[in-house]
């Protein structure tokens, strides 16, 4: 009996080891007809109400249902979508008045899906609701900066004037923080119970959730799928060739891969599979679909806790930078698809510059820097200084994130070779970000990513007033505890500079200071990944904050 079982094990083992995935039935055809696209997405939207949508999936879906005031294309270029033009300083649509500002907007005429026109009053209403402290809106950053929103041609008109209390560099990217809400639908729920407006039918129930975009929400089966249908000819988008878009919520990424392989879905959203899975999927595509890798805005790095006396010496920080083979991580672990980064801004950011101090892999240089800083190798191979302090650092990252755990182990091995010991101690994301990093409790190194946006700058991120303390309620993102008056000046100036060229110059300057002082070590820029059947034209793997692959759905078609 036992012998038989052993045979079975050996057979199974042998079978497992020599197996190859056979290419299944090839299906490059649309899954549900040529007027439909089925997108597999890992998340389900939370609310389809601009005020409460926190999940990327919601933003992705809402891009089809709502018109954006100003939108970005896949090259990150801005264009006016719901407005006639983007306000600017030259033609006086953007006026500065000391510290205050006034922006003048003109809407493009279009209707809500029930036929009522979109008016200035809808924008005023949206802003009023967002300002109410009893409404559970999370972010009220712009809302608090705006003094008031006025309708210069009457409530039913298309002209809007927005008065700002303070100077803000990115005031011309959106009229108000959350845009227009159909007042004739939402006001009733708002009056009933503002503190539970997120649970109201608007944003949840397809029957009342109307927008002003090229598509209208027709069905939302919780936990399963969401369907939008073209409204026909739209004054802004024309007549889309894809009549229907269906999102299938497939929370399990392995199942997402399987569905793509079997042809049951036409595309995988950028909110879908992991980088590793995309690489595996790419190998199995066999010409049926394309897998996209698009360097995005997510920036992986290691924060140095500058309260750590050993890390206060910039030579030690630079030695760590030279000691880590970031090029090998990028080339071998990521097959070159996630490039090494040298600064805190992603390469496509308008303020990006390549002209910064770089730290290529150079163990000899790392050891030399450490020697210069007074460290000599101890009997265990780990460097120590005259006071006998060993160069041993704890690194913390999010437990369960495999890629970060892989990178951690490579760093551990790399740095051992230059005489630095790395002790790995990981925490669940909620503990890491809820306690360790934001309260600056990490002992030495913390590895995680910042999700940047095309408008991100270094204010709060690397300015001294952005250092979280108990006194400021742990607000601010300067987790390393970096203090440099020059950096403070440049970053503050950049965040208030309304002239784009001058702002970009300041940002480039900040990138150079950053790379010189190295309060954090940039590792690599994460790629957005997506997949689509080869026949689907117009699909791009965009994943900006607020812009996803759906930004140009009205121009997709099947070939």
């Amino acid at each position: 009996m036992r012998a038989r079982w052993h045979h079975a094990v050996i057979l199974l083992a042998a079978a497992l080891t020599i197996s190859v995935w056979p290419a299944g039935v090839v299906q490059a055809q649309p899954a549900a007809g040529r007027d439909t696209v089925v997108i597999g997405i890992q998340q389900e939207p939370d609310f389809l109400n601009p005020l409460f949508a926190e999940m990327a999936a919601s933003v992705s879906v809402m891009d089809t249902i709502f018109v954006s005031d100003v939108e970005r294309d896949n090259t990150w270029k801005l264009f006016a979508q719901g407005v006639e033009s983007i306000p600017n300083l030259r033609d006086g649509t953007w006026k500065l008045d000391g510290d205050r500002m006034t922006l003048t907007w003109k809407l493009k005429a279009r209707n809500w899906h029930d036929g009522r026109p979109v008016t200035c009053a809808d924008y005023v209403f949206g802003h009023t609701v967002a300002r109410n402290v009893n409404v559970p809106v999370v972010v009220r950053d712009l809302t608090n900066r705006i003094a008031n929103v006025l309708c210069t041609q009457g409530a039913e008109g298309l002209d809007i004037q927005v008065n700002w209390k303070e100077r803000y560099a990115y005031a011309n990217l959106t009229i108000t923080e959350y845009g227009a809400l159909p007042r004739h639908v939402v006001e009733r729920y708002y009056r009933e119970n503002p503190s539970k407006l997120n649970e109201a039918p608007y944003g949840n129930d397809p029957k009342v959730t109307i927008g002003d975009g090229a598509y209208r929400l027709v069905e939302w089966r919780k936990g399963a799928s969401l369907t939008v249908e073209s409204v026909g000819t739209h004054p802004i988008f024309g007549t889309p060739r894809i009549r229907r878009i269906i999102w299938r919520f497939i929370p399990d990424t392995n199942a997402l891969v399987a569905n793509m392989l079997s042809g049951a879905i036409d595309a995988i959203s950028t909110i879908g599979i992991s980088f590793d899975q995309a690489v595996q999927l790419d190998r199995q595509s066999a010409g049926r679909f394309r897998v996209f890798f698009e360097p995005g805005l997510i920036w992986e790095h290691i924060d140095f806790n500058l309260d750590n006396p050993l890390l206060q010496d910039v030579r030690v920080r630079r030695a760590i930078a030279h000691g880590i083979n970031r090029e090998a991580i990028s080339q071998q672990l990521f097959e070159g698809k996630q490039p090494v980064s040298h600064t805190y801004l992603p390469p496509r950011h308008p303020g990006y510059t390549d002209n910064v101090q770089k730290y290529p892999y150079d163990p000899a240089r790392a050891r030399a820097l450490l020697q210069e800083a007074g460290f000599t190798p101890g009997p265990d191979g780990i460097m120590r200084n005259a006071a006998g302090q060993r160069l041993s650092f704890e690194i913390n990252t999010t437990a369960g994130n495999r890629v970060r755990e892989q990178v951690e182990q490579i760093i551990q091995q790399n740095l051992r070779e230059v005489g630095i010991e790395i002790v790995i101690q990981n925490f669940p994301a909620r503990v890491l970000f809820g306690e360790i990093t934001n309260q600056r409790k990490f002992k030495a190194l913390a590895m995680y990513a910042w999700v940047m946006s095309p408008t991100s700058d270094c204010d709060q991120l690397y300015t001294s007033d952005g250092i979280p303390t108990e006194a400021n309620g742990w607000a601010g993102q300067n987790y390393p505890g970096y203090k440099n008056p020059e950096m403070d000046r440049v970053c503050k100036a950049a965040s208030r500079e309304v002239d784009e060229a001058r702002r970009n110059q300041l940002l480039q300057q900040s990138a150079q200071i950053f790379a010189r002082d190295l309060p954090a070590l940039p590792l690599y820029v994460r790629a957005s990944v997506a997949a689509a059947k080869v026949g689907l034209q117009g699909f791009t793997a965009v994943q900006l904050s607020g812009t996803y692959e759906t930004w140009n759905v009205h121009r997709w078609f099947w070939q």
Binding site: T17, W21, Q409
Partner: protein, 301 residues
């Protein structure tokens, strides 16, 4: 893990189990030796323990040694017996070291669970009354808790290292032993030898440690043995969910978790760690079963 939380009341132990002294253990050992599955299980466990102890000498590589140029090498190819994983770690080496972790966690967690359970059982059984009532209600509560969910929760906050995992598994695994020991103590304390000791003026601690506990040892040992397998499974499950032992410390559970994402291109990575868990737990169950038959055939655990 989701072992059936079915505990029958401990049946009265066989008469011979109650007789203290050398003879009893010799009889048990003779009986155990006749139990082929149990001896097979014991042999494999001994082998695994040896492999774990001597891992540094057996392993062909260092367990944290990375080779980025040689990722996903298939088994029986080149210099790696069982292939390499996503970082080019030698899988065979990792399995050996992971065995160390799993066995240590298994033994330590089972030991602490049984120790805690024995303590609760003795206190409840010997002192009775209100204390007994409170402790048994507490046992009811823990038995009713969805333990796996609570372990996940605790693992999320305290997991990562070996010690916290042992502690949280021990903290929720004592109920079976507690009920068992309490039953034994209740039965034993009314028996002649205990009454006699009390009449002779022996102290309470002496009665408990010299007279009652040794006589209740058989079920405790069996419970501990079976618990080792359970604890190994629990650790593996927690690590599989990412809240158990964290990389770079290898454990069979986290190796399996890691492998699941490469099922399409490197399926062999998932095979070995699971096989090791299966084999180890199976052997502990074989051995525990044989041990029960040998020590006390009428015991139901």
């Amino acid at each position: 893990m989701a072992r059936p939380a079915v505990t029958l009341a401990p049946a009265a132990a066989a008469a011979e189990a109650a007789r203290p002294g050398e003879g009893y253990w010799q009889i048990a050992w003779r009986r155990l030796r006749r139990h082929r599955l149990a001896m097979g299980g014991l042999a494999v466990i001994a082998l695994l323990v040896l492999a774990a102890v001597f891992a540094p000498w057996i392993a062909p590589y260092r367990f944290e040694q990375i080779d980025l140029t040689n990722r996903f090498a298939p088994p029986f190819s080149g210099r790696h017996w069982l292939g390499t994983d996503d970082l080019g770690h030698d899988v065979f080496t990792r399995l050996l070291y992971a065995g160390r972790v799993s066995l240590v966690v298994g033994f330590a967690a089972a030991l602490s669970a049984v120790a805690l359970g024995t303590l609760v059982g003795v206190v409840a059984g010997y002192y009775g009354g209100l204390l007994d009532n409170v402790l048994m209600r507490l046992t009811d509560i823990v038995l009713t808790l969805p333990v796996f969910g609570v372990l996940l929760l605790l693992g999320r906050y305290f997991g990562g290292g070996i010690l916290p995992i042992v502690a949280i598994i021990g903290l929720f695994g004592w109920t079976v032993a507690a009920r068992l020991v309490r039953g034994e103590i209740l039965r034993l304390k009314t028996q002649d030898f205990a009454e006699a000791a009390r009449a002779l003026g022996a102290s309470e601690t002496r009665i408990i440690f010299r007279h009652l506990l040794p006589n209740a040892l058989a079920p405790i040992i069996v419970a501990a043995t079976l618990d080792v397998g359970g604890a190994i499974l629990t650790e593996a499950a927690l690590s599989y969910f990412g809240v158990g032992i964290q990389p770079p410390i290898p454990s069979w559970g986290n190796m399996l978790q890691n492998a699941q994402s490469y099922l399409w291109t490197a399926p062999w990575l998932a095979f070995w760690p699971g096989m090791m868990i299966f084999l180890t737990v199976l052997c502990f169950n074989f051995f525990g079963d044989g041990l029960r038959d040998a020590l006390d055939p009428r015991l139901k655990i």
